[in-house]
């Protein structure tokens, strides 16, 4: 990427954060907080009704996000934020539901839920902070760790293939797919804002520095060095074929908005189909009949 995005310095989002829970637990230089800042900006700009907006996290450093955001917020179990959010959304369809969690949570232990929610086009936004490792537990190898990168349970380097999350999301049925890095905060916020304005399954991956574990173990320097890597190696390719966006160790990072399309959601399909088959006996669910 060649144009400079600015990090928002001040925190204009006090009403969107649980100030009574600050200071947060994240390490100095961790990228998670900056993604939360983008999220808060997106919430503010999108002007959606925040009383009707809920956030669900799983477990991990990123999983703590739900605890800091001043919305109806749920800190659930490792990997299960998406099915939890599915129940929440279906029980109260007027909610805008956001899942905010880590790569291990969403693509490792929760991978099955991820592909099924995308397949159903469940109306939710999944924001995945991809720091290439299981940070909370001390930097173990993940389904997203680039091949050859070092992790505490891959002490000789990772010899597995890693997931390309945008490809997985699109193949599974997501109707909005974007990837950015923690350097592209404005674009992250913009993508989030676009997703907030859409219906259907939206997926936003944010490559984010874990300075304490991933960076240190791989001798990649501090937060600034990682930002430099993102700056030098990221390349914006909107609409890129998601089959081509896989990530290699310290290699090129293809970012951008890859997918943005419309498709009936789970509830649209349910209502339309049951209405067709059952006729007048069926009253559409989750839409007002007044």
């Amino acid at each position: 990427m060649k144009e400079e995005d600015h990090l928002e310095e001040k925190n204009p989002m006090e009403d969107l954060l649980r100030m009574d829970r600050i200071p947060h637990i994240w390490c100095p230089g961790c990228g998670i907080g900056t993604v939360v800042t983008s999220f808060a900006e997106a919430l503010r700009k999108s002007k959606i009704d925040l009383d009707k907006t809920a956030i669900v996290s799983g477990i991990g450093c990123t999983g703590r996000v739900a605890g800091y955001v001043k919305l109806d917020s749920f800190h659930t179990t490792h990997g299960r934020a998406i099915p939890f959010a599915t129940g929440l959304k279906l029980a109260n369809p007027e909610l805008k539901v956001i899942v905010f969690s880590g790569d291990g949570d969403i693509a490792g232990i929760g991978g099955n839920h991820f592909i099924h929610a995308a397949r159903r086009n469940m109306d939710m936004i999944v924001i995945c902070v991809n720091n290439f490792n299981y940070a909370m537990t001390g930097g173990q190898v993940a389904a997203t760790t680039p091949t050859t990168a070092n992790a505490s349970t891959a002490p000789y380097g990772n010899y597995e293939y890693s997931f390309s999350l945008p490809y997985l999301a699109e193949a599974s049925g997501a109707t909005y797919v974007a990837r950015w890095t923690a350097l592209h905060l404005r674009r992250v916020a913009k993508s989030m804002q676009e997703a907030l304005g859409k219906r259907g399954f939206s997926f936003i991956e944010v490559i984010t520095p874990c300075v304490t574990l991933y960076a240190r173990r791989n001798r990649l320097g501090d937060g600034l060095n990682l930002m430099k890597y993102y700056y030098e190696k990221s390349e914006i390719q909107h609409g890129a074929d998601t089959r081509t966006v896989d990530i290699s160790y310290q290699g090129k990072l293809i970012v951008g908005k890859f997918v943005d399309k419309e498709k009936p959601t789970f509830l649209d399909c349910m209502n339309e189909h049951l209405g067709k088959v059952l006729g007048d006996k069926y009253k559409s669910y989750g839409v007002s009949h007044e």
Binding site: A66, L71, F74, H75, T76, T86, A91, L95
Partner: protein
Amino acid sequence: MKKVKADPKGVLTGAHYLDGDYALAEGALAAGCRFFAGYPITPSTETAERFSERIPSVGGVFIQMEDEIASIAALIGAVWGGKKAMTVTSGPGFSLMMENIGLACMMETPLVIANVQRGGPSTGLPTLTGQQDMMQVKWGSHGDYEIIALCPDSPQECFDLCIDAFNLSEIYRVPTFIMADECVGHMHEKVVIPPAEEIELVERKWFKGPKDKYLPYKPDKDMIPFMVKAGDGHRFHTTGLTHDERGYPALNAEFQEVCVRHLVEKIRMNADKIIKLEEDEIDNAEIIVISYGITSRVTTRAVQQARKAGIKVGTIRLITVWPFPEKRIKELAKKIKAFVVPEINYGQIVREVERCVEGQAPVIHIPHCGGWVHDPDEIFKAIKEASK
């Protein structure tokens, strides 16, 4: 506790010929359950099938999830979204649910899970009966917590106890279990569903105060905190971590004490109000047979035989298995000659009986490894032996 009448939309009033699984679905609909997430597993699948067929005309959601972990997670989400919610499963699926049952306990989420038990361990006997998950339901998730578990012995009771289960779960904000078994689940019998106005339901304990004053884990006078649903402007937080009244993580021994003690005590201190037993001819009994679920029906035959033979035998049927009726068993242990405990496992609830009896009377266990029910004769012989 606010009581309301059932919504007639969900109540299929009349006399029906139903199996236990179908009766569970009808009980749930009558109790106001409008969200069901599940994954097929014999011998419980018919409940999901029935619910999926009925819910479009009642108004609500059925969703077949990708597995049982997703099902229970979706249930918890749905309850915080404002619905009453249920799932059904059997052994393997029940095992998968364990971690999130703990989450439901920790978040004090009212919901109902039915386990139509089959023979285990592992895939075991998919189509044949068992009562082998009776300890798992109490202890299966890690950590200390209490739940409520009920045991139906007929399709009628599948219906009735399903309503009780929803009510209890709302009163105590606790996951409540219906521990049925394959025999009861697949047995067809008459099930009478009363008119809606005769079905009393407990309304969720909704918080009515100022929106920014809501504390999801502040116990009320009756120990039970108030509930809200997402989307009503409270901007509340809840977590599976040990937490304070605000629902914020509080990761130390002091809050562990407050938080976990509350989860345990809200059930233990209310045990007398929760426990339902069916007792027969206890007053003059020398022998008492304690049983539950399908095994109670087999016991009835054995007891008739024993009484004909002149043995003074009484019975206790555990409608509530958890919390365990320890007070009652302790009291009776002083008076009688022996307890006989038949169950379709290799020794589960009998351990609870032994614990309560404290060596004051012999406790004779009649195990059965599953696949079928006891031969009544076996129970009769044990009663006879005990009476000598």
